[in-house]
């Protein structure tokens, strides 16, 4: 084997059939062509709804952030546990995700498509024929799902793909398995830190072990709620988040000083819905998470005492703080607090209490180490060491600074015997789109093409075939 030679086409087993990979998540929906290294289309799963001229209008994609239309309300078709609740809207959002970027009007013969004609008389008739076509008529579709997706939801998914989108072939894969594939492993323990959920999925030989699948709602949104609780209790004054669309101008102020900004005001009948504001606040919060929030790197809990006798809290306080400026100009240095907001992912007792939050206080069983323990408890003892040796971390919220270090320490403490090795790609895109990339790999493999559920099979066996084939 000469490493300087590229692999033969047959050697890496790729055979691209222009399949589309759709990875719907709670916060974002990823879609793209199989074989590419990142999804071409990345849209928020949220959609906007408003009334204009007496008609209900819907907006999708990044458009929802832009204009504060009167009465614009933001919804999410997917429930908090990652299972679709509103199927009609989910279908529309998903459809938007690939029709907006990936599939367009089909290119037809330039002699006949009328684009080169000087006089366009017969053009409308051609267009009529095209518009009847279903959006995915010539692309196989690979979709992902959570490991705990119920049978009904799976059947509904294939129904939409086959009947509404008209895909010739379909497959439904677990996102845990795909994340493992993206990391180059067929067996792994996938730790997925998403927006609405954190989940642990043991994968063996490319299949999930259902009894080991664990999930809890301590995801990115929960961290946001913790940050909100922190802001409420902030010491000089509680911090309110004012999104950008409400600021007309601002002036720089000293750290900790009240903001000096001119606000935009909307009359009650023109103002967007509260959900719109919440969505935009969330954007500020994710910026805050990216810039400020840090996970206590371990090797112990934040509340514990370090090896030198100094409590970890002390140590955290002594590290330099990080400044953050809010959209209204208010800025502040965040010290040890920035560790506290994520600590409850590992230590339920460290959660910042907030009676107004929609998240109930977490229990110890919901924390990451306990989830992993429970997950490993559900699988056979023979593969536990192997799983611990192949921990794959994925999901955008796992990009929190110091997260993998802490996870590593926690796992080493939980399982001092076996070797723990975490594989977490350093590349941000690979971490955020782990399951999509895995799907991209899978759907472009030559050997995978025998696994598609074809339209014919669907017609023969009905929606239940997804249970038999996508195990």
């Amino acid at each position: 084997m000469n490493p300087s030679n590229p692999p033969q086409a047959g050697e890496y087993g790729g055979d691209e059939v222009s399949a589309i990979v759709l990875d719907p998540g709670y916060s974002t929906t990823r879609a793209g062509f199989a074989g590419e290294d990142a999804p071409k289309s990345l849209i928020p799963t949220y959609y906007g709804k408003y009334n204009a001229d007496g008609q209900e209008k819907l907006i999708y994609g990044d458009d929802i952030f832009v204009t504060p239309r009167p009465g614009l309300s933001i919804h999410n078709p997917i429930g908090k546990d990652g299972i679709v609740e509103d199927w009609d809207m989910a279908e529309k959002v998903w459809e938007y995700s690939f029709t907006s970027r990936l599939t367009g009007a089909k290119a037809s013969n330039p002699l006949h498509n009328g684009l080169n004609d000087i006089s366009n008389e017969e053009l409308p008739t051609d267009m009529e024929v095209e518009s009847d076509e279903k959006p995915l008529a010539d692309s196989p579709l690979l979709m992902t799902e959570a490991g705990w997706n119920p049978v009904k939801a799976r059947e509904k998914t294939i129904e939409i793909a086959m009947e509404k989108w008209g895909t010739p072939a379909f497959y439904l894969a677990r996102n845990g398995v795909l994340a493992a594939f993206a990391a180059g492993k067929a067996s792994a323990l996938v730790v997925d830190i998403g927006a609405s959920n954190i989940s642990i999925t043991p994968v063996h030989d490319g299949m999930i072990l259902k009894r080991g699948v664990q999930h809890s709602p301590l995801g990115g949104d929960y961290i946001s709620s913790q940050i909100r609780a922190l802001f409420k209790k902030n010491s000089p004054q509680p911090i309110t988040i004012t999104p950008h669309y409400l600021i007309s101008s601002k002036t720089a102020v000293e750290a900790g000083q009240p903001p000096q900004a001119k606000y935009k005001t909307f009359p009650a009948d023109k103002a967007p819905d509260a959900t719109y504001r919440a969505l935009l606040e969330e954007r500020t919060l994710s910026e805050f998470k990216e810039c400020v929030v840090q996970v206590w790197p371990g090797p112990n809990k934040l509340s514990a005492t370090g090896p030198t006798g100094v409590s970890n809290e002390e140590m955290a306080r002594s590290s330099p703080g990080r400044p953050f400026e809010f959209p209204d100009g208010y800025n502040q240095l965040f010290g040890a607090d920035r560790f506290r907001v994520v600590e409850s992912l590992f230590d339920a007792k460290a959660a910042i209490p907030d009676p107004d939050s929609i998240f109930p206080a977490p229990t110890q069983a919901q924390t990451l180490p306990e989830l992993i323990k429970a997950s490993l408890g559900g699988v056979d003892v023979d593969i536990r060491p192997h799983l611990l040796n192949n921990v794959v971390v994925t999901g955008a919220s796992s990009l929190l600074y110091g997260f993998t270090d802490r996870l590593n320490h926690e796992l080493m403490q939980l399982f001092p015997g076996p070797r723990v090795r975490i594989s977490a790609p350093g590349n941000t895109a690979e971490r955020r789109f782990g399951s999509w990339i895995g799907g991209s790999i899978l759907a472009s493999l030559g050997t995978f093409h025998q696994m598609w559920i074809s339209k014919k099979e669907y017609d023969e066996h009905g929606a239940n075939i997804v249970e038999k084939r996508c195990k």
Partner: protein, 563 residues
């Protein structure tokens, strides 16, 4: 140039007197590509040669332009591993052979493409799909039929339905037990057995071991049905044996142990690591010790020549000696690696290899002796302490009347005793020692052993002398007797004719005397040297055995005497 002429024109200057030296510019060598004109001008006339490496796209080699373009086509294909004939499209290089020789021309080309597209569309490529061959399933045993099930596979624990379910799962998941156990979710049909029995079964939790045990039993039985054990191939038989011997209890115990091992606390793990470290340290120490000792041995081991040098006195013997010495030298270089076990053929055949270690065993006791020797000269040490005879014995202190210079080994002295003046005598001595099962080289040459050895050697020598004398006397007697018999015969002949009756007994007597060997010799010596101190007690025990060896010797001496 034009600009200069214009300026002159405007300023009313006369036109150029001399034309500008055009030639000069032509002399200047061509500006290489990739360097700007201004920069090149700065370099002056005699610029050093510069190599300009430009990363330029080379393009494809020219000869490739002549090749025909092989276009890629989006072609439909079917997968042989599928049963439903799903047609998918992928890009593929168009095959030369399938392409009809279309006439050239842009207009025709478009037509050709569309035509081909129509041609290709209905019939996907006939050739086998490349990846279809990877569609393989694990080999599962043939499914039992009703009769076989009822006859052989009935079980109280497993219903027929559940067994079927298990077999289905095993096939579906290609015998990946982790997955089978994970997905196992058997719901007994309630409508057939609405009684309590069914509910009890539903509660039953099947572990992976249960499933494996059941499956292996079925698989083994089915294998045996297909091929009776007598006809099985080796691999099949092995598998059959393994499946039959599967013990779920043992497997379960193993897994429990594995779980225990996995759930150790940090302290336990640390302790284990510490113990392992300790063990490692101990073994490495031991290894070090062994290598050090080995090195020491190889340093101390100097072969001591004990054999006589007669065999090396011929030129042939000398060259042989040289050869062996060279050999020994070579291997000595490697000795540190090989250790003393890589035994070196000592140049003198009789040198025992254990000479070194044995000699060394006594060194601690000889050293005090040396110290004492010195002490006898230096007064202060003597004054420090005088040893009682008991202590002297205990510490092995000896007093020598005459001390030779240098170190000598006690075993050496003992060795010297075994070497007589003549070669024959030495051989005899060695023979006697071998008879007594005393090694030529003493195992433990302590003071007392050496003394005893000395005594023994003396008495052996004495015995040998005595025998020599005895043999001499005997042979003289024989000669004299023969002479006497001769004389008698003659006198008888002279006296008159007497029958040769008395002749025989005499002869037999003589023969007896010759054959009896040591028996008579020992007797004779015992008789001859009465005044001697008693022979070693062992001598009696070895009496019978020594006869054979000594008889040979005596025969030899007879011969010599005859000569």
């Amino acid at each position: 140039m034009a600009a200069a002429a214009d300026v002159r024109d405007m300023l009313n200057l006369p036109a150029e007197g001399q034309p500008r030296p055009h030639k000069k510019q032509k002399v200047v060598e061509k500006r290489p590509e990739g360097i700007t004109r201004e920069l090149y001008a700065l370099l002056g006339e005699r610029a050093p040669p510069i190599a300009i490496n430009e990363n330029k796209y080379k393009g494809r080699p020219k000869w490739m332009n002549k090749l025909r373009v092989r276009p890629w086509r989006m072609t439909p294909f079917t997968n042989g591993a599928r049963t439903d004939g799903l047609v998918l499209n992928h890009w593929q290089r168009k095959h030369e052979s399938t392409r009809p020789l279309a006439p050239e021309g842009a207009q025709m080309d478009v037509d050709g493409v569309t035509e081909e597209g129509k041609e290709d569309a209905p019939k996907p490529l006939e050739q086998e799909y490349t990846f279809a061959k990877y569609n393989i399933k694990a080999r599962t045993p043939r499914r039992y039929n009703d009769d076989e099930y009822n006859r052989l596979l009935r079980s109280d624990d497993w219903s027929r339905e559940e067994t079927d379910y298990l077999m289905d799962l095993a096939t579906e998941y290609d015998l990946r037990w982790l997955l089978i156990a994970d997905r196992y979710d058997y719901q007994p049909r309630m409508d057939t057995e609405p009684d309590a029995n069914a509910i009890v079964r539903a509660k039953q939790v099947r572990t992976m071991e249960h499933m494996k045990a059941r499956y292996y039993k079925i698989a083994a039985t089915m294998l045996a049905i297909e091929h009776p054990p007598a006809e099985m191939s080796e691999a099949e038989f092995d598998m059959h044996e393994k499946m039959q011997k599967f013990d779920p209890e043992r497997e379960k115990a193993r897994k429990d142990l594995a779980a225990l091992q996995l759930d150790r606390t940090a302290d336990e793990v640390r302790e284990e690591a510490m113990l392992l470290e300790e063990l490692k340290r101990i073994t490495s120490n031991e290894q070090n010790f062994i290598t050090e000792r080995r090195e020491l041995y190889s340093r101390l081991e100097v072969p001591i020549s004990v054999g006589n040098t007669a065999m090396y006195q011929s030129s042939q013997g000398l060259s042989q000696l040289l050869q062996t010495l060279l050999q020994a030298d070579k291997s000595k270089k490697r000795r540190s690696i090989l250790g003393p076990d890589g035994a070196v053929a000592s140049p003198v055949g009789q040198t025992p290899t254990q000479a070194g270690p044995l000699g060394r065993a006594e060194t601690p006791s000889t050293n005090p002796a040396a110290g004492n020797k010195k002490g006898s000269i230096s007064l202060p040490q003597q004054m420090v302490r005088t040893l009682t005879p008991a202590e002297e014995a205990r510490y092995g202190v000896q007093h020598h009347e005459r001390v030779t210079a240098g170190v000598q080994f006690r075993s050496d002295r003992a060795q010297k005793l075994t070497q007589a003046k003549s070669n024959v005598q030495t051989l005899k001595l060695a023979g006697a020692l071998a008879e007594l099962e005393i090694p030529v080289r003493l195992f433990m040459p302590t003071e007392r052993v050496c003394k005893e050895f000395e005594k023994l050697i003396q008495s052996v020598n004495m015995l040998l002398d005595a025998r020599k004398v005895a043999e001499k006397v005997e042979s003289e007697i024989r000669v004299l007797e023969a002479a006497k018999a001769e004389r008698e015969r003659k006198s008888r002949e002279a006296a008159g004719e007497t029958p040769a009756k008395g002749d025989n007994p005499v002869k037999t007597e003589a023969e007896d005397a010759g054959n009896s060997g040591l028996d008579s010799a020992a007797d004779a010596s015992g008789a001859a040297d009465d005044g001697e101190n008693e022979t070693p007690v062992k001598e009696d025990g070895a009496h019978k055995r020594s006869a054979s060896v000594l008889s040979v010797v005596s025969d030899k001496s007879n011969k010599r005497q005859r000569r």
